[in-house]
């Protein structure tokens, strides 16, 4: 499955880019498994995605919880808790 992943704010700065297209193995199909998959990329990624930090997720512009599944072609975003207003 192919998805687009976006990163924002502190997370964007940590991983050093804002967007990427990822080809995922078949067993990575929801936010939770995607976080585990990304956490294996190295120290910075493990720090962000292994559960130590609060990382919120959205699929196609909708805030979702970690068990939400995505589909081929979806846009997934990761960001810290929001601080607008």
């Amino acid at each position: 499955m192919n998805i687009k992943v976006l990163y924002f704010a502190r997370i964007k700065e940590s991983v050093n880019y804002s967007t990427e297209d990822i080809v995922l193995p078949a067993d990575v199909s929801n936010i939770n498994t995607l976080k585990s998959y990304l956490a294996k990329r190295g120290e910075v990624w493990a720090d962000l995605f292994s559960g130590k930090q609060t990382v919120r997720a959205a699929i196609n512009h909708e805030l979702v919880d970690d068990m939400m599944a995505f589909n081929d072609g979806d846009e997934v975003a990761f960001f810290p808790p929001v601080t607008g207003g």
Binding site: H61, P81, V82
Partner: protein, 151 residues
């Protein structure tokens, strides 16, 4: 129901005049302005930079307005939120609600701000004498939002 995310400043008087005169059955307009403070967590803040998620931010704000409209009988609502670099005393956000009577406008305005604070994808980065830092989300904001679920 209007949502605008923009770098430019906004004219509160003009916005409220337009809202107030949209219909003669409006009897109350309540508004909230958020502005940049020059101090946060004890440190001097020289600039505040706001990042957002284009597309999702507008959608989240529209959903918040829908939520207010489904709870209270309101005529109009407006959210203007700025992004980019701001300085102390700059306006950040305007929320305005018009209704026949004040009670619903007051409640809807506070509801919109409480949900905006916790649901709309904006992130603040502030510049202090010690360098730049991301503003941390506050538990008190989550609590302010969650009280609407009980009522």
């Amino acid at each position: 129901m209007t949502v605008r995310v923009q770098t430019e400043d906004f004219d509160v008087a003009a916005e409220l005049l337009a809202m107030r005169t949209a219909s003669a059955d409006i009897g109350a307009v309540v508004s909230f302005i958020g502005q940049v403070r020059d101090i946060n967590d004890g440190d001097v803040v020289s600039t505040l930079t706001l990042e957002h998620y284009p597309g999702m931010t507008e959608r989240a704000l529209e959903q918040i307005e829908q939520g207010a409209k489904s709870r209270w009988n309101i005529n109009e609502s407006l959210i203007i939120h700025r992004v980019g670099m701001l300085h102390p005393l700059d306006q950040i956000v305007l929320v305005a609600v018009a209704s026949a009577h004040r009670g619903e406008a007051f409640k809807a305005c506070e509801f919109i701000m409480d949900y905006l604070k916790t649901q709309a994808p904006f992130w603040k980065k502030e510049s202090t004498p010690d360098g730049e830092r991301w503003v941390e989300a506050k538990i008190s904001d989550d609590e302010a939002q969650s009280r609407w679920k009980q009522s």
